[in-house]
């Protein structure tokens, strides 16, 4: 992951919907998967994607003052996040244009496009201190 570039904060694509595989044949599913991987490879080669990962369809949620651990509905859910890309592009229009190429869209996947915060004091402090630690 590129965390060294302080000026380029970029965008995050969050892929929502883990129920895509319902009703698809293995061939169709394989095609979507192959297209998805080719898409990520191309974006990486173009320098537009700096990181990306699929997430397992499982996990836990920790919440509240009591730090309670619960199961999350991550499998076959419309809202669950199935993976993400970090994009090194300058405008949200470019990030949206890339999101529109997502091979999962015809199968109900939604792509959340979020600016990575440059102004957030927590992140800014972190970067400054991380930089300082490296000197």
């Amino acid at each position: 992951m590129n965390t060294q570039n302080q000026n380029q904060t970029g965008y995050m694509l969050l892929f929502r919907g883990t129920d895509l595989r319902k009703g698809l044949s293995s061939e169709e599913l394989q095609k979507v998967t192959d297209n998805w991987m080719a898409w990520f490879k191309r974006l990486t080669e173009q320098g537009k994607a700096v990181a990306g990962n699929p997430l397992e369809r499982e996990g836990k949620i920790v919440s509240g003052k009591d730090r309670v651990v619960s199961d999350g509905p991550f499998a076959e859910s419309k809202e669950a996040i199935g993976g993400y890309f970090l994009l090194d592009v300058a405008t949200i229009d470019e990030a949206i244009a890339i999101a529109k190429e997502c091979p999962g869209l015809p199968y109900g996947i939604r792509v959340e496009v979020r600016p990575v915060a440059g102004e957030c004091p927590i992140a800014a402090d972190l970067r400054a201190e991380a930089q300082f630690a490296q000197v």
């Binding site: 698809l24 394989q30 699929p54 996990g59 836990k60 920790v62 919440s63 996947i109």
Partner: protein
């Protein structure tokens, strides 16, 4: 479902969800939480357990529909479900990742933290292969 002790090579992603809890706090209180949170992440980084995190702005867009023809505003800033940031933790078991999540200073302010294993192989790819085997069996 994964066993709590199953080893993972790719680490875990912590996704922080919250409403705008900091709107209710004074400047000093916010500063205190920021300091605590920074110290928390730096401590994890110093132990080699986390990579630098990213905060997300609360605005953005959602793209959906065939060819991405629907572009809507959102997520909605006031929602408790909005992801405000994430951290990649480099530990071997989900139990360790959960323990790290439980030590987050922001939990006291109502955030919730989703702990997800980073997949070694795309789950869609794995499923496509499983399906191919089932179909082969059904056609035999």
């Amino acid at each position: 479902m994964q066993n709590m002790n199953t080893q993972k090579q790719n680490g875990y992603m912590l996704l922080f969800r919250s409403d705008e809890w900091y709107e209710e706090l004074s400047h000093d209180e916010i500063q205190k939480v920021i300091s605590q949170n920074n110290a928390w992440i730096e401590g994890l980084m110093a132990q080699g357990k986390a990579k630098p995190g990213h905060a997300l702005q609360r605005d953005g867009a959602t793209v959906s529909g065939k060819g991405g023809r629907i572009v809507s505003d959102g997520p909605f800033a006031e929602s408790k479900e909005v992801i405000g940031g994430f951290l990649l933790v480099d530990v071997e078991t989900i139990a360790e990742a959960i323990a790290i999540a439980q030590s987050s200073p922001t939990l006291a302010y109502g955030t919730s933290i989703e702990v997800r294993p980073v997949a070694e192989e795309c789950p869609l790819d794995v499923r496509a292969r499983e399906l191919a085997r089932v179909e082969q069996f059904a056609n035999a």
